[in-house]
Symmetry: C2
Subunit: 323 residues, 2 copies
């Protein structure tokens, strides 16, 4: 498959997707102030960001509402308190995890909601449940994506089968998700080509969600874009679980479409993100994340390790090799 466009091309299919609250919420249990969320919404609109994800639609039966901020649940009223009727060109998204949400009840018909998109997050082995959620959200009137997680740990035949299942579903888009931050650009190009082939066959766009364990989140995102991937996830200052994600400021400084404006992003970072960092939220590239990424493991052990302020990296790596 050939590259689509070059460094001077404006590809109108490319859309920027802000996942700061959703992936960043995994760092601070979604404990963002309303002021922060308000400012983020307004910064994204000004910056020309195409989608903003407000968080998860998690089940209140499974998760204690006292232990998490409200964006773990994304009640309709909470979103409306920020965006009103969302009189902007930016679409509002929420994520629904297979097995962790009560989607039939908690996701309202689109006619009653300011939400535009539902992203269904699934592991390969959960695909039948994911398809049920996709069809539910689609029938309710939403734009829907299927985000197949942890593909670096799945068999190719299983991924192929999962892609065929999403292909034949009503989903509008399919996401490449490098959950462990373990994939190199060379692999991302191959995976992107595979996903794009399925996307073209079934009329669906492809998205990219990267993690920065090996300082490759931005590189992998723009390499995927160059192959034809359209929907690009990013977060302010890369805020997200563990090593974090592709940073919005890097992505907007790269894209050539004049609709994007980096100034509101820089303003938001200096006025709000630095404060979040100062209050103790920890994310971003660090050596333990490199090591879990390199070994294609979930970052949880690295997150615990960094929380404990440990720095005996060689011992940590030895432990990982035993897992």
């Amino acid at each position: 498959m050939a590259q689509k466009g070059d460094l001077m091309t404006v590809r109108s299919d490319i859309k920027v997707f802000d996942a700061t609250i959703r992936d960043g919420g995994l760092v601070n249990n979604f404990m963002f102030t309303d002021e922060f969320i308000n400012a983020l919404y307004r910064a994204n609109v000004k910056a020309g960001v195409d989608y903003m994800e407000f968080g998860y639609k998690a089940s209140k039966e499974l998760f204690d509402v006292n232990k998490f901020g409200k964006w773990k649940f994304c009640d309709e009223n909470d979103i409306r308190a920020i965006v009103g009727d969302n009189n902007s060109d930016m679409k509002i998204s929420v994520m629904a995890d297979v097995g962790r949400c009560n989607y039939k009840d908690d996701i309202l018909p689109k006619s009653e909601s300011v939400i535009d998109m539902v992203r269904v997050a699934t592991y390969v082995h959960q695909m039948p449940a994911a398809i049920d959620m996709i069809e539910d959200a689609k029938a309710k009137g939403y734009e829907v994506t299927c985000n197949i997680m942890a593909i670096s740990n799945a068999k190719e035949a299983d991924i192929d089968q999962a892609l065929e299942m999403v292909g034949q579903s009503s989903a509008d888009g399919i996401y490449i998700v490098d959950s462990y931050g373990s994939l190199y650009p060379e692999q991302i190009r191959e995976i992107a080509d595979k996903y794009i082939e399925i996307g073209e066959k079934y009329g669906k766009y492809i998205g990219m969600h990267a993690h920065n364990n090996q300082q490759l989140a931005f590189a992998n995102t723009i390499e995927a874009a160059a192959r034809g991937v359209s929907l690009l996830d990013c977060t302010m200052m890369g805020m997200g679980r563990g090593a974090g994600n592709c940073a919005t400021e890097l992505l907007l400084s790269f894209l050539k479409n004049p609709k994007y404006n980096i100034f509101p992003v820089l303003k938001f970072i200096q006025d709000h993100m630095l404060q979040v960092k100062e209050t103790g939220a920890v994310w971003g590239y660090d050596i333990p994340y490199l090591l879990t990424g390199r070994l294609n493991q979930h970052p949880s052990s690295a997150i615990d390790y960094i929380k404990d302020n440990k720095t005996d990296y060689a011992d940590f790596y030895t432990d990982l090799l035993d897992k």
Copy 2:
């Protein structure tokens, strides 16, 4: 030009080049302790690193020896105090800047020196002087590379002419140098193909020296390697001017040649690099570096800005746009 090898290939032409003292010295004026340099040398040998650069061969007439650590000058005796006769497989390198060294006197005949390689750093417009230095070092018996800096700011025709000049010189290798950290992987692949073509024509290997302004130092280094670039610069924890370089730990975790061992690198980082950070040396990706990189400018304004602990990124960017 096709990719050379894949993720399972051991490419015997690939060599790892540690530039921690030389590029890292630009952060702390080369004020490293002997203990640090000793430990770095031993860690590199154990890790299978192929070359270690001890610093610059700067002129003591131009630079005040009281204002810099000894690795700005790399006296023969100082290197020997660390490496003895260097009874290891690792080669010792120094860098000589065009116009900043007294190479005719200060670079000894190879027979009198433990140094193996001289890297001549030059801007495109200084090529005639660089060629003189290359021929001098080569005649003295050294392996020699020509590191053409700041190519992102040079005209293609000038780079082509410079490459022809190095091609016809006695240099053993030619370096791609992304001084401002402004190049994207897509550009690096094109540049690598161009350099490799010249290298194949004249029998010279190609090297890569990246900067991390846009979190692309590692990505650009492995993309260059995939095209056939052989000599890969890295520094411990990415220590280097401004946003720093490709991190040794990232590069060694990527390379498949079993001769490389990441454990001594992890040990060195935990025992020595963290201390250097704690003593106030500042380097690594930060937003001001992204902005100078994006605008293809020298990082000096970003370095000053970060030193002053300023964080009004939007104003900084506005100022840069006026430059």
